[in-house]
C-alpha cells in the first residue's frame, strides 16, 4: 500500500503515463527563427556583390591556404609561448620572494597597459632602434653581439610581440585559476611532506586547469584574429593580409573578405572542439555526469541497481557496488 512496503511486495507498481505539458511557445519561436534564417540566407545568396562563385574560386587557392597556414602557425606558437610565460608569471605573483612578485606585477602592468598594435610596431622597429644586440656587462665589456635583423626577423618579431602581450592577460587567468583551488589541498599536500614546487605542479595546477581552460580557449580564438594585426610589424603572409591583397588586386574586396571570414570561422570551430576535450579531461573527478570510458562510479552503480535489482550487489555498508575496474 505504502511506498516503503511496495519494494517487498511482488506486485509491479503501476508506472505513471501522464500527458506531457504542451509548450506552444517553442513551436512559435522555432518558426520565427526558421523564417529569419531564410531571410538571412536569401540576403546573402541573392546579392550579387558577394560574388559567391569568386568566393569558391579563391577559398582553396594557394595564397589563401598559405595564409591559413601562417595564421595557424602564428596563433599556435605565440599561444604556446604565452601559456608557458603566463604560468611562470602567475607563480611569480604568488611567490614568497618579493622581487619575483614585483617583476611579475610590472610585466603585467606594462604589457596589458599598452596597445598590442603599438607593441607590434616596436618589435618590428627593434632592428632600427637597436641594429645590433649585444650581451655583456652594463657599461662594461661586450661578450656577444648579433645583428638584430637576423635574430629578430619579421616572423619572430610577430610571434614575440603576440606572445609577450598575450602572456600578460593569460597570467591573470592562471592566477585566478590558482586562487580557485581550496586551501585544504595545500594543507593536505604539505602534511604529506610534499615540497612547494611539487604541490603546485601535481596538486594545484591540474585543479586550476578547470578554471583556466575556458577563458584560455577564449583567448586562443581571440588570438587567431589578433594575428591579422601583424601587418604592423610588418609581417605580410597571414590570412587577412593574403585575402586583402587578392581583393585589392582583383577589385573584389567583398568576396575575399568572405573567404577570410569562412576560414576564421572554420578554424574557430576546430579550436572549440579541442577545448571541449580539454575541459572534459581536466573536469575528471569533478563532473560526475560526463560519461567516461566503460561507465563506472556511484551514479552508474545506482542506475544499474535500479534497473536490474537482481544484479545490484550490496556491500557491507549497504551501498550498491559499482562497476569499478
Amino acid at each position: 500500500m505504502t511506498t516503503t512496503t511496495a519494494a517487498k511486495t511482488p506486485a509491479e507498481p503501476q508506472r505513471i503515463h501522464a500527458i506531457p505539458v504542451r509548450y506552444p511557445g517553442r513551436w512559435i519561436s522555432g518558426a520565427v527563427v526558421v523564417v529569419l534564417a531564410a531571410m538571412v540566407a536569401n540576403a546573402l545568396l541573392t546579392n550579387d556583390t558577394f560574388a559567391w562563385p569568386t568566393v569558391g574560386e579563391y577559398l582553396f587557392s594557394r595564397p589563401v591556404l598559405r595564409g591559413v597556414g601562417w595564421t595557424l602557425f602564428l596563433t599556435v606558437t605565440s599561444m604556446v609561448i604565452a601559456i608557458i610565460l603566463a604560468v611562470t608569471l602567475a607563480i611569480m605573483r604568488r611567490s614568497a620572494n618579493p622581487v619575483m612578485r614585483y617583476v611579475s606585477w610590472v610585466y603585467i602592468w606594462f604589457f596589458r597597459g599598452t596597445p598590442i598594435y603599438t607593441q607590434l610596431i616596436f618589435w618590428g622597429l627593434a632592428s632600427v632602434l637597436y641594429p645590433v644586440i649585444t650581451l655583456g656587462v652594463p657599461f662594461g665589456p661586450e661578450l656577444l653581439s648579433m645583428d638584430t635583423n637576423v635574430v629578430l626577423n619579421a616572423t619572430r618579431a610577430a610571434i614575440l610581440g603576440l606572445a609577450l602581450n598575450e602572456a600578460a592577460y593569460l597570467a591573470e587567468i592562471v592566477r585566478a585559476g590558482l586562487q580557485s583551488v581550496d586551501r585544504g589541498q595545500f594543507e593536505a599536500a604539505r602534511a604529506l611532506g610534499m615540497k612547494e614546487g611539487r604541490i603546485l605542479w601535481r596538486i594545484v595546477l591540474p585543479q586550476a586547469m578547470r578554471v583556466i581552460v575556458p577563458p584560455t580557449g577564449n583567448e586562443t580564438i581571440s588570438m587567431l584574429k589578433t594575428t591579422s594585426l601583424v601587418l604592423a610589424v610588418p609581417f605580410s603572409l597571414d590570412l587577412q593580409f593574403a585575402t586583402n591583397a587578392i581583393g585589392n588586386r582583383t577589385f573584389q574586396p567583398v568576396p575575399l573578405l568572405m573567404v577570410a571570414a569562412i576560414w576564421y570561422l572554420a578554424i574557430t570551430s576546430v579550436l572549440m572542439v579541442g577545448q571541449f576535450y580539454l575541459e572534459r579531461y581536466y573536469g575528471r573527478g569533478f563532473d560526475e555526469h560526463v560519461p567516461k570510458r566503460g561507465r563506472r562510479g556511484r551514479q552508474s552503480a545506482i542506475n544499474a541497481a535500479k534497473t536490474t535489482p537482481e544484479l545490484g550487489a550490496i556491500d557491507d555498508m549497504g551501498r550498491p557496488i559499482g562497476g569499478g575496474v
Binding site: D182, E187, A188, A191, G193, Q207, M317
Partner: protein
C-alpha cells in the same frame, strides 16, 4: 637524532604559544605523547585543540615554546649567533621532510579530487619518498584494503561517500609509513550513519600500536581507545590523564561543564 629516538617521547610540546595577530589562541600548551599511545583531545570549539594539533606538523608556525617529534625540534635548528644560543628557521624543504613522518587526517578529508582513490594514496610515496610506481601501487592497494576499500581503487573522491573519502584519507596518510597519526575532527563532517566506519578503522589502527593524537567530540571513542585524555579550554590544557580520571571523575569545573553538554 637517532640516539634520542629510543628515549624521547613521540611528541613533546613545551610552553607552546600561538598568536593570530592580536588573538592569543594557544597560551602555553605542554603535552607529552608516548610512543604507541592514543591521546584524545577534547574541548569546546575555539579552545585551540585543532591549532595545537596543527602546530605539531608545522601547518601552523608557533609563536613561543617548542615542539619535538621523537626528540627532533620541529621547524627550527638550534644554533648559536654571536656566542649566544639562537633558533634558525628551517627552509621549507627541510620542514617538508620533517612532515613526511607525521600523518594527518582532516575534518574535510581534503582528498585530491582530480585523482582516483589509488592515485591519492600513491601520490606522496612516489613524489616524496621517490618510490617506483609499481611498488607504490602495491602498497596503496594494501592500505586501501586495510581500510576496507579494495573495491574502490579507481573511484574519484566525488564518487565516494563521506565515510569512504575519510577512509581513503587515512590510507593516504598511512602509505607514508608515519611514526604518528594526527586526526583533526575526522568524523565531524560526516553523516551520523557514516561515523562508525571511520571510527572502526581508527580503532583498528590504535590496536595495531600506532601512536595517535585525535581531536574529536566522540566521547565513546575516547572511552574505548584513549590512553590519555586531554581537555583544552581557552588555549590551555586544563586537565589531562587517563579516561577514568578526566572523563569519569573530572576535577576542573570547565571539564565538568563541557562533559555535561556532550554526554
Amino acid at each position: 637524532m637517532s640516539a634520542q629516538t629510543s628515549t624521547a617521547p613521540m611528541v613533546e610540546m613545551t610552553g607552546v604559544h600561538k598568536w593570530y595577530g592580536d588573538a592569543h589562541v594557544l597560551r602555553g600548551v605542554d603535552l607529552v605523547v608516548q610512543q604507541g599511545t592514543v591521546t584524545v583531545m577534547l574541548g569546546p570549539s575555539g579552545s585551540g585543540k585543532s591549532t595545537a594539533l596543527r602546530c605539531i606538523n608545522q601547518l601552523e608556525e608557533i609563536g613561543a615554546g617548542a615542539v619535538r617529534v621523537e626528540g627532533e625540534l620541529m621547524g627550527y635548528r638550534e644554533g648559536t649567533k654571536g656566542g649566544k644560543p639562537a633558533l634558525y628557521r628551517l627552509h621549507p624543504r627541510q620542514i617538508a621532510t620533517q612532515r613526511a613522518r607525521v600523518g594527518m587526517v582532516f575534518q574535510r578529508f581534503n582528498l585530491f579530487p582530480h585523482m582516483t582513490a589509488l592515485g591519492n594514496v600513491m601520490e606522496a610515496p612516489v613524489q616524496v619518498l621517490g618510490k617506483g610506481k609499481a611498488e607504490a601501487r602495491e602498497r596503496a592497494v594494501e592500505m586501501l584494503s586495510r581500510v576496507g576499500l579494495a573495491d574502490r581503487l579507481d573511484h574519484y573522491p566525488a564518487q565516494l561517500s563521506g565515510g569512504q573519502q575519510q577512509r581513503v584519507a587515512i590510507a593516504r596518510a598511512l602509505a607514508m609509513d608515519p611514526d604518528i597519526m594526527l586526526f583533526d575532527e575526522p568524523t565531524s563532517a560526516l553523516d551520523p550513519e557514516l561515523v562508525g566506519e571511520v571510527l572502526g578503522v581508527m580503532r583498528d589502527l590504535a590496536s595495531s600500536g600506532m601512536t595517535m593524537i585525535v581531536v574529536t567530540h566522540e566521547i565513546g571513542f575516547a572511552r574505548e581507545v584513549a590512553d590519555q585524555v586531554v581537555f583544552m579550554a581557552d588555549g590551555v590544557i586544563v586537565e589531562h590523564g587517563p579516561v577514568a580520571q578526566v572523563i569519569d571523575a573530572p576535577t576542573e569545573q570547565r571539564t565538568k561543564d563541557f562533559l555535561a553538554h556532550v554526554l
